[in-house]
């Protein structure tokens, strides 16, 4: 169905995903810093990054079903989307920890005491090995089977 898109998409380099993600995060930060995200920009930016990261993660998970059911092949973008998602999650964490909560003691208290923060931190920890091994060298070193198993952590 959608496989006619495969050919034009082949001309889009995967690094464009990194550039677009970084530009989007930068733009959101600019809006927040210049008072264009409402009277309380800290929460607004925190939520904007979180929701963008979530969208990227949903996009990754859609790649396989899309290929299966519509023939649309986005496999070559998967790593770029995944690693971008990781960086956006780190940006989300940074806004929360540095701009919102502000002190390490309170950050730690929140991670331990508030279940939704605990879940968020656990998700980030799960993403960490995937981000670290998202390069060809790690893939060769681990072997395809082990690498795939690891990446099922998503």
């Amino acid at each position: 169905m959608l496989s006619f898109l495969n050919k034009p998409l082949r001309r889009v380099p995967p690094w464009a995903i990194y550039v677009a993600s970084a530009a989007w995060c930068g733009w959101l930060f600019y809006l927040a810093a210049t008072g264009r995200m409402g009277p309380e920009p800290i929460k607004a930016l925190e939520h904007a990054y979180g929701i963008y990261a979530l969208k990227l993660i949903v996009a990754i998970l859609l790649i396989t079903p899309l290929r299966k059911w519509t023939g649309l092949n986005l496999l070559r973008f998967r790593r770029a989307i995944g690693v971008s998602a990781f960086f956006v999650v780190v940006a989300h964490l940074a806004v929360w920890a540095i701009l919102d909560v502000q002190t390490f003691a309170r950050v730690w208290a929140d991670i331990v005491k508030r279940p939704y923060v605990t879940i968020g931190m656990a998700s980030l920890v799960l993403m960490l090995p995937l981000a670290i091994t998202s390069n060809d060298r790690s893939l060769r070193k681990l072997g395809a089977a082990a690498w795939r198993k690891l990446h099922l952590l998503t």
Binding site: A32, G35, P39, D110, R114
Partner: protein, 300 residues
């Protein structure tokens, strides 16, 4: 009965809106030291600097108009505030349906610059215009059996998107113990910065109880009932573990999902620092005696 509270802050302490803007421009441009010297004469460095009208009217919780902070500003335009009537009933000498003028006309209209602390750990400073609830209660006549005051917000489903989506049970209801309601700090407000309340701020008349979390300060009131028993309040009904009837600002009792020890002042921008929350929102001296002998960890 409590002594009449005298406001030490006056209109002179409100930074006029044009100076507010000036100050920001100057701070953004030149160094802060130069700016302070420039403005020293007209806008003195008062302890409580009110938020701007724009901030006050663009960051609201008014779930009848949606759950987002900017939803009320966007959606409250259709609220019909005139004519307005308030039903006063229960244990009162003169029950009935009052217009706003019947209820507060002729009473002392005062300017009250109060800290406003939301349960969500953000805060503002608002220059309210209003009358003491105490005076209103005297006007309607409180029977001796009355121990609590209950309030109810208007419901206009055709213009209230949150009501149609049933985001929580409506009408929104709140209550105070009679001695809290009689406290001179508690007011019924009709304006901010000398202007009529914006719809999203609770037009045409709302409660302001500055030592309690903001959700106690019920908006757009259509019913005031004097009752003998503790009346239901919307948030404690919805989630009694997280919200109590008293809901006094208390940095030592955390909300289950976040700390109440600190708060963020709205208007400080992306890099604003959290500040410590004060007991009873800074009104401890005035109101602490209302709660003598009560364990505020239990009655949160």
């Amino acid at each position: 009965m409590a002594r009449r509270w005298t406001n030490t802050l006056t209109q002179a302490d409100v930074t006029p809106e044009h100076l507010w803007l000036n100050r920001r421009q100057i701070l953004a441009g030149a160094g802060a030291t130069g700016a302070a010297a420039l403005l020293g004469s007209e806008a003195s460095a008062e302890a409580l600097e009110p938020n701007s009208w724009d901030e006050i009217t663009n960051y609201n919780n008014y779930y009848e108009f949606g759950v987002g902070k900017d939803d009320p500003a966007r959606n409250a335009g259709g609220l019909r505030t005139s004519p307005w009537s308030i039903e006063v009933n229960g244990l009162v000498e003169r029950p009935g349906t009052y217009t706003i003028d019947d209820l507060i006309g002729g009473l002392d209209l005062e300017e009250r610059i109060y800290r406003f602390r939301c349960v969500e750990a953000w805060s503002m400073v608002v220059p309210w215009n209003g009358v003491e609830l105490n005076d209103v209660l005297d006007r309607v006549g409180v029977k001796p059996e009355a121990r609590y005051v209950a309030f109810e917000t208007v419901v206009q489903p055709d213009v209230m998107v949150g009501v149609r989506r049933k985001v929580m049970p409506f009408p929104y209801v709140e209550g105070l113990r009679l001695d809290e309601a009689r406290h001179p700090l508690a007011i019924l407000a009709t304006g901010i910065y000398g202007k009529q309340l914006a719809n999203q701020s609770g037009a045409p008349i709302r409660l302001v109880v500055p030592w309690k979390y903001g959700f106690k300060s019920i908006k757009s009131i259509v019913r005031i009932s004097l009752v003998a028993d503790e009346p239901p309040a919307s948030w404690p009904m919805l989630n009694p573990r997280e919200y109590g009837f008293y809901s006094n600002v208390n940095p030592k009792v955390d909300h289950p999902r976040w700390t109440q020890a600190t708060e963020r002042k709205i208007g400080g921008g992306l890099f604003s620092q959290r500040v410590p929350t004060q007991m009873f929102n800074g009104y401890e001296e005035e109101v602490a005696s209302l709660y003598d002998g009560m364990d505020l960890r239990i009655f949160y």
